[in-house]
């Protein structure tokens, strides 16, 4: 069994008045892509900083490539880690090529190689045409691409990307995800930190949801879906009032609708069979809960639990 690339055991960080991150336990294996989701101030950045070794945990244990990232022993591991901070603005007066060469040198490339490597990376992110222009003339998207190129320096084993697709147009976003997939197949691990964005689900193996410093959920998307037990949305056409009149089906009906059903995952097949057998059915669409809904579910559940703890009661009615 291989040891995980990153592992946190009850790790957390608190400042004087603020618990930025409460006891988090997680693993990340080689070649795995983890999505890290949460609102602003949820503790995403703190978690990243812990893994990067920029700050030390207040309690618990953090290990990256078998070493505590804030220790001297982890020093040479740093060149194998790529990081894209949120809202970074690079040295405005330098050209893209100069910025990237500087960072490549700091990652241990010799001067001549640094430049060559930088040119390759700029090509990879598609801003070769602007590499001799000062960064101050770059658009938001170009800056973001430069930031990504910076994170890719030296083919890192571990990548931490904070809001990587902000400011990227759809083509560039697509390119970016392709690069992530490629890195993954080369055995690199990636932590994608993001607000939930459409399109991210196909590219992550597992997701992690944080809210106000607490780990709400972690697991593969299917696991999270199961845990959330969100209903499957089935939209039908041509059935007229059949659904309203059918005793078993009517309680699945979505509010204010005569053709859309919200069905718990385990009853999905039974309901589908029943519907498909109906002769008037002209069309049927099936949607499982997407990442955003799963995310919202865990957040609201968390809120409810909090409220419950405060009021210590409330019961919900259900169908």
């Amino acid at each position: 069994m291989s040891t995980p690339l990153v592992s946190l055991t009850n790790a957390g960080k608190s400042y004087q008045q603020l618990d930025a991150l409460k006891s988090v336990t997680m693993d990340l294996n080689s070649g795995e892509v983890m999505g890290l989701f949460g609102h602003n101030g949820a503790g995403k950045t703190t978690l990243m900083k812990l893994i990067l070794g920029v700050i030390s945990p207040s309690f618990g244990k953090v290990e990256v490539m078998g070493r505590a990232p804030d220790s001297n022993a982890a020093w040479h591991n740093r060149s194998k880690i790529g990081f894209l901070p949120e809202n970074v603005s690079f040295y405005d007066h330098l050209t893209g090529l100069e910025v990237l060469s500087y960072f490549a040198k700091l990652k241990g490339f010799a001067s001549s190689n640094a430049k060559k490597h930088a040119v390759n990376l700029l090509e990879q992110v598609g801003i070769t045409h602007a590499m001799k222009r000062p960064v101050k003339h770059y658009s938001k998207g170009m800056r973001q691409r430069l930031g990504l190129a910076q994170a890719f320096i030296g083919e890192p084993k571990l990548l931490l990307l904070d809001e990587p697709t902000v400011g990227l147009d759809p083509t560039a976003t697509h390119e970016f995800y392709r690069t992530v997939d490629q890195l993954k197949s080369n055995g690199s691990s990636v932590i994608l930190c993001s607000h939930v964005l459409p399109g991210v689900e196909q590219h992550i193996d597992r997701a992690m949801i944080l809210s106000s410093g607490e780990l709400l959920a972690i697991g593969a998307l299917t696991e999270l879906r199961q845990k959330a037990a969100l209903p499957v949305t089935i939209t039908t056409s041509g059935l007229n009032n059949f659904l309203v009149n059918n005793k078993t089906l009517q309680c699945f009906l979505a509010a204010n609708s005569t053709s859309t059903l919200l069905v718990p995952a385990q009853e999905k097949l039974a309901v589908l069979q029943q519907l498909v057998n109906h002769e008037n059915l002209t069309d049927i669409q099936l949607e499982t809960a997407n990442l955003e809904q799963v995310y919202q579910h865990f957040l609201t559940e968390h809120e409810l639990v909090k409220q419950k703890n405060e009021n210590s009661l409330t019961e919900q009615g259900n169908c």
Binding site: K49, V54, S79, F83, F103, K107
Partner: protein, 272 residues
């Protein structure tokens, strides 16, 4: 070592690119050549001024200029990178805080050092050809070396400021106040003390107080090698006490090393 040099050369090229090196050199050269040639015009004499008069007026001008330039050059070194997010990024690289700070110090220090050398060196050479006396070179060397040390000291002080605050504008304000205190207020306060004390302050106490200000040390270093006839006031009193030039240089050096060490200490504890 490589990392330090990488940072240093980036900072140095930054200084070249945004014309810092060029402007400072030009200012220094103009001032020193102007003072060398026309310093005596006020007293009705034209042409090359005497060496001691030149050094005296250069020292009193430089003592204002160099701290100001050094503070301006370096006040945003860290807080600027903190605001743009590159500081956090750099610290995730295999680059220690010490390496980053020393690299910046070497890079920006070289800018000040080179500008001082070129700017004042030019007038030293001019004066040497006019007067043909080797003493010119000696006195100017002392002047240039001490000016460089003064610049380095204020770069280190600027780092202290830059690392202690979280906003660039705040750093700029504090830098300005720092300059004002060291360059003007301190000497005024010293003068007030001299006049205000009934029994008169002892010379030892006065000189010791002067060691608390690198600009005063710089003045003492340069004036102690000259005819004291052209020096008067509190400085003259201090000069008579006879701290050797070597001692003065060491104290000036301490004014570089201590703020730098303190800056490292603060950087190490800085929360990002």
């Amino acid at each position: 070592m490589n990392q330090i040099l990488t940072v240093a050369s980036k900072e140095f090229y930054d200084g070249l690119r945004n014309r810092w090196l060029f402007s400072i050199t030009l200012i220094f050269a103009l001032c020193s050549i102007g003072l060398t040639y026309f310093g005596a015009v006020a007293s009705g004499v034209e042409g090359v001024t005497s060496l001691s008069a030149t050094i005296t007026s250069l020292a009193s001008l430089t003592v204002f200029l160099i701290p100001l330039i050094a503070l301006l050059l370096s006040y945003d070194s860290f807080v600027g990178e903190q605001e743009s997010g590159t500081l956090l990024l750099l610290l995730t690289y295999p680059l220690s805080k010490n390496q980053l700070l020393l690299g910046k110090f070497i890079g920006q220090g070289s800018i000040i050092a080179l500008a001082t050398l070129l700017g004042f060196g030019s007038s030293a050479i001019l004066l040497y050809f006019q007067l043909g006396d080797i003493i010119v070179i000696k006195n100017f060397s002392i002047f240039i070396v001490s000016a460089i040390l003064l610049g380095l000291s204020f770069i280190a002080i600027a780092y202290l400021i830059s690392l202690s605050v979280n906003e660039k504008s705040k750093a700029a304000g504090i830098a300005l106040i720092t300059w004002f205190c060291f360059a003007l207020v301190f000497d005024l306060a010293l003068l007030a003390l001299l006049v205000g004390y009934d029994q008169g302050m002892s010379q030892t106490a006065l000189t010791q107080l002067m060691m608390l200000n690198p600009t005063d040390i710089f003045r003492l270093v340069n004036l102690s090698g000259l005819d004291t006839n052209e020096v008067n006031g509190a400085l003259a009193a201090a000069l008579n006490l006879g701290l050797s030039q070597g001692q003065l240089f060491s104290i000036l050096l301490a004014w570089v090393a201590l703020p730098l060490a303190l800056a490292l200490f603060i950087f190490d504890r800085k929360k990002l």
